[in-house]
Symmetry: C2
Subunit: 137 residues, 2 copies
């Protein structure tokens, strides 16, 4: 019941870039240092974020990364989907195939409400909403 490492990193990276408006571009080097993410692992994630069109990269000297669209247009759910976290909304909590509400597992009835709440939260929260001073990064 936790987000996996890669997804956590991805959210933190996007969140940082989205909410630090003092610069145009951020290099992998500085992101790795500031966010304490292994450099080589971060660059791997960055290219995935670029391919997913969350991030726009400028190559070559003086290059770096920036958001490809406004922070308000990227929801946490978008990111989770990209990293296969919430993959199949219909997947059973107990892993017994898929859930179509007619073929319930034992935990179904208790799970639907919290599940919906999480879903809504992730859908309604954008990178913009993660702003705020004093937050750890």
């Amino acid at each position: 019941m936790q987000l996996n490492n890669t997804t956590q990193y991805a959210i933190r990276i996007l969140s940082y870039i989205a909410n630090k408006h003092d610069k145009q571009l951020y290099s992998a080097k500085e992101l790795a240092e500031i966010l304490s993410i292994p450099y080589k692992f971060l660059t791997k994630i960055m290219t995935e974020l670029v391919k997913a069109d969350f991030i726009l990269s400028i190559r070559g000297r003086e290059g770096g990364y920036k958001l490809s669209r406004p922070a308000s247009e990227i929801s946490i759910m978008d990111v989770l989907n990209q990293f296969n976290e919430f993959v199949e909304q219909k997947q059973c909590l107990l892993g017994i195939g898929m859930c179509d509400n007619n073929n319930k597992c034992g935990l179904h009835d208790q799970w639907v409400k919290p599940k919906k709440m999480i879903k809504d939260m992730f859908e309604n929260t954008t990178l913009e909403n993660l702003d705020g001073n004093g937050y750890k990064i």
Copy 2:
């Protein structure tokens, strides 16, 4: 954001044993077949359930497994804890160390409510509550 395989199996096994009252003991062989869990993997989980005192085992011919206490006294949270799922309630969703409400990550404020809802649900749901006819197993 899903329970890992081993935990899913554990809940399904416990749930099945708890709610099928037609027998005293269930053998690993029949549990594996009925629940479609690899036999060798299941026996491994069973010994962990025995050590965690959820299950009582009777060895030797005609032996098998049964609950070590009433189904109403084993919550899903108990099981999750045993399998290190909910380990540290205080662990940050974004993996930035621990959360003490004074040292928040960007998702904190959105996360607290759903988090509490899930927690309560897992704590208040016991093996007994997983009963019900027509549920897939």
